[in-house]
Amino acid sequence: MITKYLTEVTAKFNPFSKRAKAARIFLSCIPADARAQMKITTSLLPPHPVKPTVLDVKFKDGKEMKFDLKELRINDIVEQVDRHSRLLARKEDLAG
C-alpha cells in the first residue's frame, strides 16, 4: 500500500465485531515510520450501544475517503487508496 500521500487515518471499531477486520488490517499495513508524517486516530467502541465501524482516510491534496466496511474488504480498500495515491504521484512527477 502507498502511504506516502496520506495525512490522516481515523478508525473506530469494536474489536469484537466482524466488520472491524478490514479496519484493523488497514492499520497494520501502515509502515513503522509513517506515524511521524500522518495522524493516526484509533478509538475502540464498546459492544453496547452498537455504533458503525468507521475508517476515514485523508490525502495530502485534501481528498477524504470514507469506507463502508459492511461491503468492502481490505483488498478493495487498499486498491481505492492506491488508485488515488498513484494519481498524486503522477501529478508530483509532472510538476517535477
Binding site: P15, A20, R24, I25, S28, A32, T42, L44, P46
Partner: protein, 324 residues
C-alpha cells in the same frame, strides 16, 4: 573434499526425523514370526503392549519438529496456565521498540513485585503470537476434553498434537463459537499473567495502554518509559480484549479488574466486610422478634405484679374511707 560415500541429493534433503510409520497387522505378525518357538511364551510380551514409539514421544498428527506443531503446543500450554491473557494488536512495531517496551514492562512489574512481596514479574510475558495457530489452540483448550466426550475409549492418544485432537479441532469444534474469533485476526501480541493479580494488571495497562483510568508513569518515577523507542512503540499497540479464566472479556470488563483497589486482598476484605454487615443485620433481625416477645412478657409480668399492689392499695383505701 567430497564425502566418501556418495549420497543422492534427494536423500540429503530428507528430514532426519522420519515420519511415524503406522504399524500394520502384517508387520506385527512378522515380528512374532521371528521369535523362535523354543522360547517360553511368558517371556513374549503381548502384541498389544508393544509400542513402536517411546512413551515420552507419542505419535503426532503433524511432524513434531515443525515450528507449527511446537507453536500450537506452546500456545496451548500458555492458554492453560494463564488466568489472564490480554490480547493486543501490534501495528508494525520494530524490534528495538519491542525490546524497549519489554524492558520497561519488566522493570515496572518488578517494582510492583517489591511492593506486593510477590515474584510474578518474570513470568508476565509480552509475546507475539500467530493468530491462526492461537485460534486452533484456543479451540483445543475450550473443547478438547477427551474424558468428557462421548466414547472416550476410542481415543488412543489424547495429547494436543495427536491425530484425534486434530480431527476434533477440524470437525466438531469448528461449528462452535468461543467468542474470541473476531478478535484473533491480524497481527496479535499477547500479555500473559500467571496469577490473577489486579495490581500487576494495573501496571501492564498503565505501561501498554495508558488511559485516564490507568495513567502512564511519570517521568520522574520511570524515566525509561520516556525513551524514544518506548514512546514510538506504545501507540502502535492496541488493546483489543482479554481472556480471563477461560472467558472472553471486553476492554471495559478487564479494565474493571485492574481498578479493584488493593488487589485480590482488597477484594477479599470488601467481601468479608459485606458478609459481616449482612451477618450482623441478620442476627439483629432474628434477635428482634425474641427480644420484643421478652419485653412484652416482661412488661406483662410487671403489670401483673403491680396489679395486686394496686388491688391491695384499693382495698386499703376504702377501709381508710370507712374509718373516716
Amino acid at each position: 573434499m567430497p564425502p566418501r560415500i556418495r549420497v543422492a541429493p534427494s536423500k540429503l534433503t530428507k528430514s532426519p526425523f522420519p515420519r511415524r510409520q503406522i504399524t500394520t497387522s502384517s508387520r506385527q505378525y512378522a515380528a512374532l514370526a521371528q521369535v523362535p518357538h523354543s522360547h517360553d511364551h511368558s517371556i513374549i510380551p503381548e502384541l498389544s503392549t508393544i509400542k513402536d514409539y517411546p512413551i515420552t514421544q507419542p505419535p503426532t498428527h503433524r511432524r513434531p519438529e515443525l515450528r507449527k506443531s511446537q507453536l500450537l503446543r506452546q500456545y496451548l500450554t500458555t492458554l492453560r496456565s494463564s488466568p489472564i491473557i490480554l490480547i493486543f494488536q501490534h501495528n508494525s512495531v520494530l524490534s528495538p521498540e519491542w525490546a524497549a517496551i519489554r524492558t520497561v514492562l519488566r522493570s515496572s512489574l518488578q517494582k510492583v513485585d517489591k511492593e506486593q512481596g510477590t515474584n510474578v514479574a518474570e513470568y508476565i510475558k509480552l509475546q507475539v503470537m500467530k493468530a491462526s495457530i492461537l485460534t486452533a489452540a484456543l479451540r483445543l483448550d475450550v473443547w478438547w476434553k477427551p474424558d468428557q466426550l462421548p466414547h472416550p475409549e476410542t481415543f488412543v492418544h489424547t495429547h494436543a498434537l495427536s491425530e484425534e485432537a486434530y480431527e476434533f479441532a477440524m470437525s466438531e469444534s469448528k461449528k462452535k463459537k468461543h467468542g474470541l474469533e473476531p478478535v484473533l485476526v491480524g497481527p496479535i501480541a499477547v500479555v500473559t499473567l500467571p496469577r490473577m493479580s489486579p495490581e500487576h494488571l494495573k501496571m501492564v495497562f498503565s505501561i501498554l495502554s495508558p488511559s485516564p483510568e490507568f495513567k502512564a508513569p511519570r517521568r520522574a518515577a520511570n524515566p525509561a518509559y520516556y525513551e524514544r523507542a518506548v514512546q514510538t512503540g506504545v501507540p502502535k499497540l492496541m488493546l483489543l480484549g482479554a481472556r480471563v479464566e477461560s472467558k472472553p472479556f471486553t476492554i471495559e470488563k478487564v479494565k474493571w479488574i485492574g481498578t479493584i483497589a488493593g488487589g485480590l486482598d482488597g477484594l477479599r476484605a470488601q467481601l468479608v466486610h459485606a458478609l459481616e454487615g449482612v451477618g450482623a443485620s441478620l442476627a439483629n433481625t432474628l434477635e428482634s422478634s425474641g427480644k420484643s416477645l421478652y419485653y412484652t412478657l416482661d412488661a406483662r409480668r410487671d403489670m401483673l405484679e403491680e396489679k395486686p399492689k394496686v388491688d391491695q392499695a384499693e382495698n386499703s383505701h376504702p377501709d381508710g374511707a370507712e374509718s373516716k
